[in-house]
């Protein structure tokens, strides 16, 4: 039964091959059904595997060996899949949310020329993501890691006729690659230190190391660089807002629910190594919390509906890394799950709004949509409440758990986390109010065409909304005298780490107090936002209007893109220009041309010996014979 795990990545792979090879001859309906069906089948198998793991709690880690892949001297890596609670949870998320997004895409991409190509890319992406979470060694994970980066590039630049979108796709891929360099260095170090890249062997050997060994710190920091690139943390986060150039289902699937969580999966999987390097954990937590607050501040002044959600994603990922950094691995995974639900919901809802507005993404031109798009509004509202962390919706439980652990670990982290929460609630409700409340601010033409989206779009929204409401109940805190299902399910994965270092705990009373405080603050903030944007009806300023210095700084995203451009891109172009003009044209071309010219000159000189005069030839013959005889006799 466990052997069925090989089917899980196989279905999307076949979906990719069929829609990829025969996409032009298949109808749009057929392509959509094949692709979505493949993911549905994977989801069913994942569910069966999950149930099987539940039934036998004592033996939850299974490795299925598919084939020997690399055998070179002492190094061997095989393609084997590891199914355990952690990968099972991620499988459900990837295939479940992925299936909903596929169904959504059949409606959203209905009028697009490259409809089947889109689905083939989506299936390929799901295949690689599944490979990433199912791999039983770092090499298979890396194959999946690179593959999702590739699919991200293909999907962001899907509407390839627009150069800006192509540039965004390039930016995403290049930044990912920078992170991947760190990841590769980490894998090399792992091989040198442990002699293997397979999880079981590495973690078994690692247990004998003492804490804070330099080589472990190096390994974990390098791996984290990879996570920084893939999961858009400071300083490698600028690709994510630009990646909004892709179609909205892409933003929902890749940049909200799955690819960006690969970094968190990787660190959760390597928890043994990280627990043995508290220095790296501290770095992870620091970068996580700083990113969380930084991105949240930028989200306050963005006017594109998808960009707000993009910065929100960066911020929420920061929370997940904060959780990992303080040792609360389960909380991080919990937040991944709830975030997948409500962020996918929010992105798909935004897509529905954009679809209804005929492509408009500026919230200053929206408004009053709640009467025109009732289902979209209702689900978007649920998603916003969930992300703000208002009980009993999903976001409350996961975020509260992270903040509780942070409070016990380091009060400053807790304070920054709460600050980020406040900002999150504010800008998300700002987005909601400006888009759906008030008077409609768009053109007359857009108002004519406003319509609720078709069922293929609204049904996934409703399902995700339902999940956002109940999704938190898998992680009910002990303070409520309930069992934390997720924690008990994931215990075997983090058992070794828990032995060394349990995440700091706080008493129930403190937890109640913190929860109450968080809820009160968030509700106050929501009321403030409502007061500003609904009651007073304030609107964000138009593009050309002058702003105060801090507002200008934030509205221009702290000029990070411009800094990178001047610090890194321009010098690189300059060096590249020098290499082109000097090295390539003068040196290399010059050398090759020189050889050609030398040959021509040589032959031009040598042919002068052919004078045609017989007397000259005879003379040369006589001379040669004389020299030969001299040579022989001496």
């Amino acid at each position: 039964m466990i052997k069925l795990v090989a089917l899980v990545p196989l279905f999307p792979l076949m979906g990719f091959i069929i829609t990829g090879l025969f996409g032009k001859s298949l109808s749009k309906t057929a392509g959509g059904i094949i692709a979505s069906g493949a993911i549905l089948l994977s989801f069913v198998v994942s569910l069966l595997l999950f149930i099987q793991l539940l039934e036998v709690p004592d033996n939850t880690s299974h490795t299925i060996h598919l084939f020997d892949w690399i055998k070179a001297g002492k190094f061997s890596a095989d393609l084997s899949l590891l199914i355990d609670p952690l990968s099972s949870v991620f499988l459900l998320i990837i295939t479940g949310v992925g299936f909903l997004i596929h169904v959504y895409s059949t409606g959203y991409m209905h009028n697009d020329e490259g409809h089947n190509k889109f689905f083939s890319y989506l299936n390929l992406f799901v295949f690689f993501m599944l490979l990433l979470v199912l791999g039983s060694n770092y090499l298979v994970m890396f194959v999946g890691w690179e593959g999702v980066g590739l699919c991200s590039y293909l999907l962001i630049g899907f509407w390839f006729k627009n150069t800006n979108y192509n540039n965004a796709a390039k930016k995403a891929f290049i930044m990912n690659r920078i992170g991947d360099l760190g990841f590769l260095l980490g894998i090399f170090l792992i091989y040198i230190t442990f002699g293997s890249v397979s999880y079981s062997e590495v973690f078994a050997q690692a247990k004998f190391y003492t804490a804070d060994e330099p080589v472990l710190i190096a390994i974990t920091l390098f791996l984290f660089v990879g996570a920084m690139g893939k999961s858009a943390q400071l300083p490698l986060f600028t690709w994510l807002p630009d990646a909004m150039a892709g179609p909205t289902p892409v933003s929902a699937l890749i940049h909200a629910a799955t690819m960006v969580t690969a970094g968190i999966y990787m660190i959760a999987r390597s928890n043994v190594l990280y627990t043995l390097a508290p220095v790296s954990l501290h770095v992870v937590a620091l970068i996580g919390v700083i990113t969380a607050v930084f991105a949240a501040t930028i989200g306050l002044l963005q006017n594109d509906i998808k960009k707000v959600l993009a910065y929100s994603t960066v911020s929420q990922l920061g929370y997940m890394f904060l959780a990992l950094g303080i040792g609360a691995y389960t909380s991080a995974v919990f937040h991944v799950i709830t975030h997948a639900f409500f962020k996918a919901l929010l992105f798909l809802g935004a897509g529905s709004v954009i679809h209804a507005m005929g492509g408009e993404q500026d919230i200053r031109k929206m408004g009053g949509l709640k009467s025109h798009l009732p289902t979209t509004f209702a689900t978007f509202l649920i998603g916003t409440i969930a992300i703000a962390g208002i009980p009993p919706f999903a976001g409350f439980f996961s975020k509260d758990e992270i903040l509780a652990h942070a409070f016990a670990h380091n009060k400053i982290f807790w304070l920054l986390g709460v600050g980020g929460s406040v900002l999150t609630a504010f800008y998300m409700f700002r987005l909601l109010f400006l888009t759906f409340y008030g008077k409609f601010r768009g053109t007359h033409h857009q108002k004519e065409h406003l319509h609720e989206s078709p069922k293929s779009i609204t049904i996934p929204l409703v399902i995700l909304a339902g999940l956002s409401i109940v999704g938190g109940f898998i992680g009910l805190p002990e303070a409520f005298h309930a069992t934390h299902f997720l924690k008990s399910f994931l215990t075997p994965v983090f058992a070794d780490s828990d032995l060394r270092m349990l995440p700091a705990e706080i008493s129930h009373a403190t937890e109640y107090a913190l929860m109450a405080l968080a809820i009160v603050i968030v509700l106050v903030v929501v009321l403030l936002a409502r007061n500003k944007y609904v009651v007073k009806g304030e609107l964000p300023l138009a593009d050309g209007v002058a702003l105060s210095p801090t507002s200008k700084l934030i509205a221009n995203k702290y000029y990070v893109d411009e800094i990178y451009d001047n610090l890194i891109v321009k010098p690189l172009h300059w060096i590249s220009g020098i290499f082109y003009r000097v090295m390539d044209i003068e040196v290399v071309d010059g050398f090759v041309n020189f050889i050609g010219k030398a040959v021509v000159w040589g032959s031009g000189s040598a042919r002068l010996a052919q004078t045609g005069k017989i007397g000259y030839y005879v003379f040369v013959m006589v001379l040669s014979v004389a020299l030969l005889l001299l040579y022989i006799s001496y």
Binding site: R607, Q610, T611, G612, G615, F619
Partner: protein
């Protein structure tokens, strides 16, 4: 007996004289081939070279009492005859085509 007196009378002239004569004849032949422009004269000089070698071969053969040298002279003469035949045939064809026997006129096979 007769051979002894023959060899003895031969030894009256030292072998160096034959060497010098042969070398001089050969050099004259070579210089003639290099310097003369008339094709017939060149052929004659080639014959001269061959005969110089013949002379030396015969002299050494007689001095050592080894007849190999003299036998080899026959071979050389046969080859010389054949070569002259072919060479004169070529010469006639050249004359018929270029109407002169100047070797410098045949310099078209050049760069």
């Amino acid at each position: 007996m007769v051979q002894d007196t023959m060899a003895q009378s031969l030894h009256g002239i030292p072998i160096n004289a034959y060497l010098t004569l042969s070398a001089v004849l050969f050099s004259i032949g070579v210089l003639g081939v290099l310097y003369r422009r008339n094709i017939i004269v060149i052929f004659m000089c080639i014959e001269l070279m061959l005969n110089a070698v013949n002379l030396l071969l015969a002299a050494f053969g007689a001095y050592r009492g080894d007849s190999n040298g003299q036998i080899f002279v026959f071979f050389i003469m046969a080859v010389a005859a054949a070569e002259v035949a072919v060479g004169l045939a070529i010469l006639v064809m050249i004359y018929r085509n270029t109407k002169n026997t100047d070797i410098d006129s045949l310099s078209k096979l050049k760069w």
